[in-house]
Symmetry: C2
């Protein structure tokens, strides 16, 4: 890089001058926020683990590392306030790459109204980006532990898209789909559901919520374990992108449902509500659909697929079997 | 490593059960703090840049990455509340190394009363540790920009120790000192001056403050630039560890003062006050000395050394010359 640390910080300050921190931002030993939020989260992306530098548009990467943190704030029933950005940049990284990365971070920050309050820029042999973010709960924070037996389980938008995008990225011809670009874009640019959770918390009592980063099954398991409940998941109700997949979906829907249930990184919300939710009204106001996919039970983990029933362990074995083929 | 992510998180939760978060800590999408602080900072340490894994006790490293963040909170006139910890761990990292690292982090957290509210554990080819920390100002936050002409410049404890420790680590025979272990320990285990700043803010008006991470000269320059002032630094007043250096100090005091003025990572406080500070009383109550080393001026950057006077640029050239020998 030709830019030194101070030049990079100056470039960042200029870029973010259209999104001022409510308080004192970049430039002191710590930021000072006038209205500090009670929500605090952090997420990191590392080259070779969360992305492959050569296969990634750095603007997408910058957008995504912000989006996954914003998604955590959404999953708590919150809205974002300010972020800290840590960049670990390898020597061969160029000024153009740095600026491209920052463009994506800035786009995401502007879109979801999250100021940049500070951070750290360091040299590292491995490229990594860490974001820490604060936010405020809209009402009370929504925890994973709030689910009650009888609650309806909902999922926002669709699941499995990101996992399918990743498959297409790693092996473009492994699955034939109608619209590969759609799945790639869902993988690279997830949508934190901030507007959705704002609408939902204003109109319903959302008892528990998590963002789907590990996969529907794993994240539903987190909800059940933290709440001390069981669940019944109706796998064929999972909202999947059948149309964008095309004919392949009809040939083997079970494969795609399995992908939807176990694929991670969709960053959709999985939440539970005692009341039934008016999906049409939600869609009208937020542009995002919500789909009921099961119920919270007193105990036991059950997965239905039309007439059949699985346990989570059967199910994972089935999927692993497919992956090995 | 034999431990997986969930086992590591469980180990961390157990280890930190003696330091509960005031709110909801590890285990949800975000932490929820009952009394969120307005101060927010982050600092990262990367293998090969900030430390050399083979030459570092991981407990020291864990302690230090917490200490440098705690030092930022101290420099703002604050006390810490909660931290987020991100670990980027390479494949060859062992369970024992992980636990040793966490021991140091925990020791520091207990010593300075900073709970661990959450974080992220990821795989990375390069070991890195990022801490983000929140805290509360004791009174008003102390900024770098508050210095006024006439203010006395103070430094806590001593400076140059860490730089000398680093020199001894990199080339043990390059400098002969009486007590090498002292300097190594000051390099590995800096002391965040939280107790000192608490006492000072209760008894004096501290107008500006910074922690010395880049070196006295560089950090004083930050204060002057942010405050729109100049400074006069009396180099031979810098508090240096003459006794621990021993006879070498008498042979070439200028070298050691130069090291003290330009060596970084001491994490002592450099602050300015309109009033004179009663150093004896400060030492009695906090165990830390404070030494006046100069004045804030209307303009101009001047460095005195007995009868001679330098500009910062002369000075840096002089030092670089020595380094090249």
């Amino acid at each position: 890089m030709k830019m030194n640390e101070f030049e990079m910080i100056r470039a960042i300050r200029e870029m973010f001058s259209d999104l001022p921190v409510r308080g004192t931002g970049i430039g002191d030993d710590a930021a000072v926020l006038h209205h500090p939020g009670s929500l605090l989260t952090t997420d990191t992306m590392v080259d070779g683990v969360h992305f492959i530098l050569d296969k990634t548009d750095l603007a997408d990467l910058g957008y995504k590392v912000m989006a996954v943190n914003l998604s955590d704030i959404a999953a708590m029933g919150g809205y974002p306030d300010a972020a800290l950005l840590t960049l670990g940049l390898p020597k061969p990284f160029t000024d153009a790459q740095f600026l491209r990365l920052m463009t994506g971070i800035h786009d995401s920050a502007i879109l979801y109204r999250c100021a940049l309050a500070g951070g750290d820029i360091v040299r590292s042999d491995t490229l990594f980006i860490t974001v820490a973010m604060t936010g405020h709960p809209i009402k009370e924070p929504i925890l994973r532990s709030g689910a009650k037996p009888g609650d309806i389980i909902y999922i926002s938008n669709k699941v499995g898209d990101s996992a399918l995008g990743l498959k297409l990225l790693q092996a473009p011809h492994s699955v034939k789909v109608k619209s590969a670009n759609y799945f790639l874009s869902r993988h690279f640019c997830p949508s934190p559901r901030l507007k959705l959770i704002e609408y939902l918390t204003e109109h319903y009592i959302i008892r528990s919520c998590i963002d789907i980063s590990d996969g529907v099954l794993a994240d539903l398991q987190h909800i059940a374990e933290e709440s001390g409940t069981g669940y019944f998941l109706e796998m064929n109700e999972l909202p999947v992108s059948a149309e964008e997949i095309g004919k392949e979906f009809e040939k083997d829907p079970f494969f795609f449902y399995t992908l939807a249930a176990t694929g991670g990184e969709d960053y959709e919300l999985l939440f539970t509500s005692e009341q039934s939710i008016d999906s049409a009204a939600v869609y009208e106001h937020t542009g995002v659909s919500v789909t009921p996919v099961g119920r919270i039970l007193e105990s036991g983990y059950r997965i239905g697929y039309f007439e059949k029933e699985f346990s989570p362990s059967d199910f994972k074995t089935g999927f692993r079997h497919f992956e090995g083929e």
